[in-house]
């Protein structure tokens, strides 16, 4: 009899997650039909070299190469970010062209830009997107603010979902203001609870909010239909997806989404215990978010964009107290379920490296931006697979020869014993196409392990 999931060790679960990634399914749940035997071979080879690089047990056949752009595929294909967010045919055209022209080992997918019309229906405030706060040819950008007030920690800790629905949503989505009139779902008990607690659903502002939710939902469904179709089409051509979902470090959930940079930094001094308690409360929720996405998408890599733990954003003492413990706990929670945390350490993280290496070996993948790559290799790199470090300024302004030299040096040093994936260091909108081509083609040609 096959071993049950609950009886498996984290290693066995990881193997199983990789096996699922290696045997993709179509939307109906059947084995995916590859376009050709060659495409299937490519797919398996690509997943296998990434798996070997991550696990650090044996040398991969070659150094994998991936590209993580933000809106670059749009600019490259002559599609504005605004068009990509409102016209899903143009969106897919751009991301398909990007993938097929550059042929990296994974497909970032066309999920990044998102459904502009849904954001519009919801009157989303946390981001400005092209045509709504930034010009049509600009990417979307975050409007940080205090969407949770300093005195609302108890409400968040007590019932995070209820806090999100009845307090956060009405602030961050103009069209969902009515939701603040909703009762707690847990009050719907017995026949009396049903009667009393359904009254708010009859009120016009609540009904208007639900109408907006339904319309935004329909738009999101239309959008994911297009995004999913491109994902399946490119998988059938032999390209695995870059990641299976995302989650976040609890400090960033509070700092990016709820309290804002200024708010959370003041909380570190004025109410550190509440901040720590809230992060503890969010930790299992962030684990579950990553694990569910990985299982649903049969893909073990769960992306974690890291923001406020970078060098300078706090002292090392503060990092060890506020940022690291729950970030690590989320990673361990994912690892225990066979999932590979894929954190992106954008900017510089040099002073954190000794702390970061306290994780199990061969179970994570790190996108590194401008940190000193040799130091990273000596510390974090002894236990974790690294990706990235090809600089944004070089991709935009350098020459292909420079990119090749840079990548060669990375492969020779960081990639020497495996555990390295060639990739750009930070998400980017602009680059010279010939530089990206040089990054991919040179890696293919040079990055073969004997």
């Amino acid at each position: 009899m096959e071993k049950q999931w609950v009886d498996m060790s984290p290693e066995e679960k990881q193997e199983e997650m990789f096996n699922q990634w290696l045997s993709p399914r179509d939307p109906e749940g059947n084995d995916l039909k590859f376009q050709s035997p060659g495409a299937q071979k490519d797919y398996i080879e690509r997943v296998t070299i990434i798996k070997d690089a991550i696990q650090m047990k044996k040398l991969p056949a070659r150094v994998p190469v991936i590209i993580s752009p933000s809106f670059f595929p749009c600019y490259y294909a002559g599609v504005t970010p605004q068009e990509a967010m409102y016209d899903y045919d143009k969106l897919n055209m751009a991301f398909r062209k990007f993938l097929l022209d550059f042929q990296p080992d994974t497909n970032i997918g066309s999920i990044g830009p998102g459904p502009g019309r849904a954001f519009e229906i919801l009157d989303y405030k946390l981001y400005s997107w092209p045509g709504h706060g930034v010009p049509p040819d600009s990417p979307y950008q975050c409007n940080e603010g205090e969407y949770m007030m300093a005195d609302e920690y108890d409400a968040l800790i007590e019932d995070p979902s209820n806090f999100f629905i009845t307090t956060y949503f009405p602030r961050v989505f103009g069209a969902l203001e009515g939701l603040k009139m909703l009762p707690a779902a847990t009050g719907i008990l017995e026949i009396f609870g049903v009667a009393a607690n359904f009254i708010p659903f009859g009120l016009p502002p609540v009904q208007a909010a639900f109408k907006a939710l339904m319309e935004a939902g329909s738009e999101a469904l239309k959008w994911i239909g297009a995004v999913g179709a491109l994902g399946n089409e490119t998988m059938a051509l032999g390209f695995p997806g870059t990641f299976g979902g995302f989650t976040k470090a609890p400090f960033d959930v509070l700092g990016d989404t709820l309290r804002g940079t200024r708010g959370i930094m003041l909380d570190m001094y004025r109410q550190p215990d509440k901040l720590l308690e809230a992060m503890d409360r969010l930790t299992p929720i962030m684990i579950k978010m990553g694990v569910s996405a990985a299982r649903m998408n049969r893909h073990p890599l769960i992306f974690m964009p890291l923001h406020k733990g970078a060098d300078g954003f706090m002292s090392d003492e503060q990092f060890k107290k506020f940022y690291w413990p729950t970030f690590r706990e989320v990673m361990i929670g994912l690892i225990n379920e066979g999932v590979i945390p894929f954190p992106a350490a954008e900017g510089h993280w040099n002073s954190r490296l000794e702390v970061l290496k306290d994780i199990p070996r061969g179970k994570t993948l790190w996108m590194i931006d401008q940190s000193d790559m040799l130091e990273v290799k000596k510390t974090l790199g002894t236990v974790a697979c690294l990706a990235g470090n090809v600089p944004s300024d070089m991709l935009k302004l350098g020459e292909p020869e420079q990119v090749k030299d840079y990548v060669k040096n990375l492969i020779d040093t960081v990639g020497k014993d495996g555990g390295y994936i060639v990739c750009n260091g930070a998400f980017f909108d602009e680059a010279k196409p010939e530089n990206l081509r040089a990054m991919v083609d040179f890696t293919r040609e040079y990055g073969i392990y004997e």
Binding site: V134, M265, L266, G312, E346, D393, K396, L397, E430
Partner: protein, 210 residues
């Protein structure tokens, strides 16, 4: 007693600092002297940031303490504070980019180091920089940006300053997450700063302040 306010602010002791301010105000002390001490406290915060003893959260917190002190003292102020600013700087995040964390840190540091900073905010069009330079007579311009597309906006802003005939009267510094010497050359800026302190050092050098 005077020294106490300076050091409590420098040590980020919010409650204590506010108490001292209240006590000194009720003792009838000249509010301007209180503000002067508070400013000295902030200067020390800036120095500690420069020597990597303090980090961004400390700057943010000290700014918040200063805001509360100013709120307490302001109603008592009968005359304007004398400005002892050592140079005017026009600052902003360039067109198409709305990131402001980095910009706010540099402008804070320039301010505590005695510069008059005219902060134009984010997504600032080229012409707005040009107009403000003309209007204020600033001798330094700071361009901030986080996105790769900010490289071009910076370049175009500097071009616009040039076209307006102002390039020789200002020094331009740029900064942001992905900015490097290569980007400086590309944009035509005079220098780039890797962090907030580099911005202060440049401004001091350009204005001849020690």
């Amino acid at each position: 007693m005077n020294k106490d306010l300076v050091s409590t602010i420098a040590d980020l002791n919010e409650q204590e600092a506010l108490k001292i301010v209240k006590d000194r105000l009720s003792a009838g002390e000249d509010p301007l002297k209180i503000m002067e001490d508070a400013r000295k406290g902030l200067e020390i915060v800036g120095e500690r940031f420069a020597s990597s003893e303090y980090f961004i959260p400390d700057l943010v917190y000290s700014g918040e303490i200063m805001k509360l002190i100013t709120e307490l003292v302001k109603p008592q102020l009968t005359r304007e504070e004398e400005t002892r600013k050592s140079g005017k700087i026009v600052f902003g995040t360039v067109r198409g980019d709305i990131h402001d964390i980095g910009k706010n840190i540099v402008t804070f540091m320039l301010d505590v180091n005695g510069f008059e900073v005219i902060d134009l905010g984010v997504d600032v069009p080229e012409q707005k920089f040009v107009d403000k330079i003309k209007e204020s007579g600033a001798s330094i311009v700071g361009l901030s940006g986080f996105l790769t597309l900010a490289f071009d906006s910076m370049k175009q802003t500097i071009r616009a300053i040039e076209d307006a005939g102002l390039r020789d009267s200002v020094k331009v510094m740029i900064g942001g997450g992905q900015i490097s010497e290569e980007i400086r050359k590309y944009t035509g800026a005079d220098a780039y700063g890797k962090d907030a302190m580099a911005g202060v050092t440049l401004a001091k050098k350009w204005t001849g302040v020690n």
